[in-house]
Symmetry: C2
Subunit: 388 residues, 2 copies
């Protein structure tokens, strides 16, 4: 599992003292080769954290030797000093790895951070922690790395997909601020398939577009989202594109589902499938509008199959539809038919955590699935008491 | 106050039995002339309730003799039967008023409904109620009418502005689902100024664009929003446009502020002013994005001046700005300067209900104010337990 499931990677996770509570807060993932190809996708928020600005440049080179990730501070909205700190972090990783025999430049070190916005990282703790983490690097360190990047996550998140003689594995963190343009999350995927950077980039974009980009926990987009895919080539096998892309997508899908399942304060995971749309864009727009409707999210929390709120949400979009042709099912019961009252809402069983909403636009043949969470008093409590 | 503050109007509010709890649920407002000019604006939700579809047509004629409003049922998503019920309601009002000596056609009767979506109105109670209401019409009935249109409103809402020899008054209901393109609300404004329909239309659109359209309680747009402005001409005075428009805007502003102050479950009223924007559209887009950020709304509920969430929200917009030039003040303290840490956040006093956020885009000279509410556990409870 995790980032060391594939050959050619070592990882570590330690407590550097960035978090006041002493929990693990620093992870290091190293590609030991022979290949060091990489691709990445980042938040589309225009307010980007320093590590995002840095790592976007690193990825442009198509090679990543190592990824250093910290929890306990997002290093976002921290000005020039924040960017200097990210730079110093990458330099330190390069220095430590080079000293240990793996020649690495700072320009090949990606940096990712998560935690509070608007505070500088405690570099006096972070930099020494990099030495400690490097000393613990191991081909079995993937789980510890996954644990070290947790913030309000209740569990660490890992996934793996096996090809024929090659593997894709990964880890993710994220428990709130999950919204389109990627969730608030850090994800590192690794593979020992022998794949060049341009293919990694295509596979990663194909996968994230249909997985992480369709997770919308609370409509809030982070400043720090980062998804990296690193290839070591250690299997010496180059799979066909479709086979490889499918494995990347499987891992992304698995991690995205885990993110929704662990969202802050949520009591329901809501699978919104929009069908018979005129275009995929229409389906996604409608799905997101439903996913973000606070009144609906409250109703689903209360196990109330309130289809009127689904129609209200659809009505705010620009998608092609006729209001008198809309059909909505909740957990398989078509409670709204042709824009009006359908089957008996008392037939809808909403006791379980997963709720399925199907919105039939009756316009075409395209579809999309968006995942969301309900809105709960626990979400309010967690996010009003916790400054993040 | 209310719809009978201006000369030339009578109103009534009664309990017709639409609401199971026996509270008032039917209001009637009648223009006794001599003029019967009218204008209206309606929800921009593409899923429109039957009374909205009906009243949009009525307003096109530029004349309204009477408005009948019910709470206890939105008559939205009710199919052809719902539209027939709205039509029958208007017919009944016309018949009753004509029998009492005020010759009226159904095509001059606007209908507005609010309450649960997806259930048919109890016409066996509503139609007889119209006769009862007509019998109680009075030049002092404005308060009772305002009370009869309440749903989850804790108080009824009225306002008045005095011109020189003429008056604009009004009533509003709405306590949730308040969002751009008008809040979930019904508003009837009346004036005895002698003004023709085209002028009413212009003044009403100018006013709503900067008042009701800039109220965003919970990001949810209703199927039923209706704002009507009726002129009786009873003062025989035709004010200049600017003077008249200012009075209409004053009443709209007053009612919009009352709606935010009574939003479901809210503990804070948030005034978001976006300044130094490149355009007014940019200012409004940024203001709405801040207004709809659930994480920020939770933080403000917890009296946490979490400016990082303001920046995250700004970053999701298409407005012109440089992330490193953004400034944010909360209750007058510039906690974010040039995109990074500003003055001490502990200086921010957030004990009072009203919170002021100023977002300085440092790009131009345009500005806009958006009003919002915080997100609370009470909001969740009210909207998860109550099927609306």
């Amino acid at each position: 599992m995790s980032v060391t499931a594939a050959q050619g990677f070592t990882a570590a996770g330690i407590a550097a003292g960035i978090k006041a509570n002493g929990n693990p807060d620093l992870a290091l993932v190293v590609n030991t080769g022979p290949r060091r190809a990489a691709a990445g996708v980042f938040t589309s928020n225009r307010v980007k954290a320093a590590p995002v600005l840095w790592s976007e440049q690193v990825v442009k080179g198509g090679e990543i030797s190592a990824v250093v990730l910290n929890s306990g501070g997002a290093n976002a909205c921290t000005g020039p000093q924040g960017f200097q700190d990210t730079h110093a972090t990458a330099e330190k990783v390069a220095e430590v790895l080079s000293a240990a025999g793996t020649e690495t430049g700072a320009g090949e070190v990606a940096v990712a951070s998560t935690g509070l916005i608007g505070i500088l990282l405690p570099m006096d703790k972070l930099l020494p922690g990099i030495g400690t983490a490097a000393a613990e690097l191991s081909a079995h360190g993937g789980e510890k790395a996954a644990i070290a990047i947790k913030t309000t996550d209740s569990v660490h998140k890992t996934a793996v997909a096996e090809g024929t003689g090659w593997t894709v594995g990964g880890m993710a963190k994220g428990a709130g601020m999950l919204a389109p343009g990627l969730a608030t999350m850090l994800v590192v995927l690794t593979t020992d398939a022998d794949v060049e950077a341009s293919v990694l980039d295509r596979a990663l974009r194909d996968a994230t577009r249909q997985t992480f980009d369709r997770v919308d926990s609370d409509g809030c987009m982070s400043t720090n989202d980062t998804v990296l895919l690193l290839a070591s080539g250690a299997s010496h096998i180059t799979p066909g594109y479709d086979e490889f892309a499918a494995a990347v997508r499987t891992v992304c899908d698995d991690l995205a589902r885990q993110l929704i399942g662990d969202a802050e304060g949520a009591s329901k995971d809501i699978r919104i499938e929009v069908i018979n749309a005129a275009s995929e864009d229409d389906a996604v727009e409608v799905g997101r509008s439903i996913a973000r409707n606070n009144l609906l999210k409250c109703a689903l929390h209360g196990e109330d199959p309130n289809w009127g709120r689904v129609l209200s949400a659809i009505g705010t979009t620009k998608a092609a539809f006729d209001p008198d042709a809309l059909n909505v099912a909740i957990n398989g019961v078509w409670v709204c038919k042709k824009g009006s009252v359908g089957d008996d809402r008392d037939l809808v069983d909403m006791r379980y955590r997963e709720i399925r909403i199907t919105a039939d636009l009756a316009e075409g043949s395209e579809s999309a699935v968006i995942w969301a969470n309900d809105l709960t008093a626990d979400y309010v409590h967690e996010n009003s008491a916790y400054s993040s």
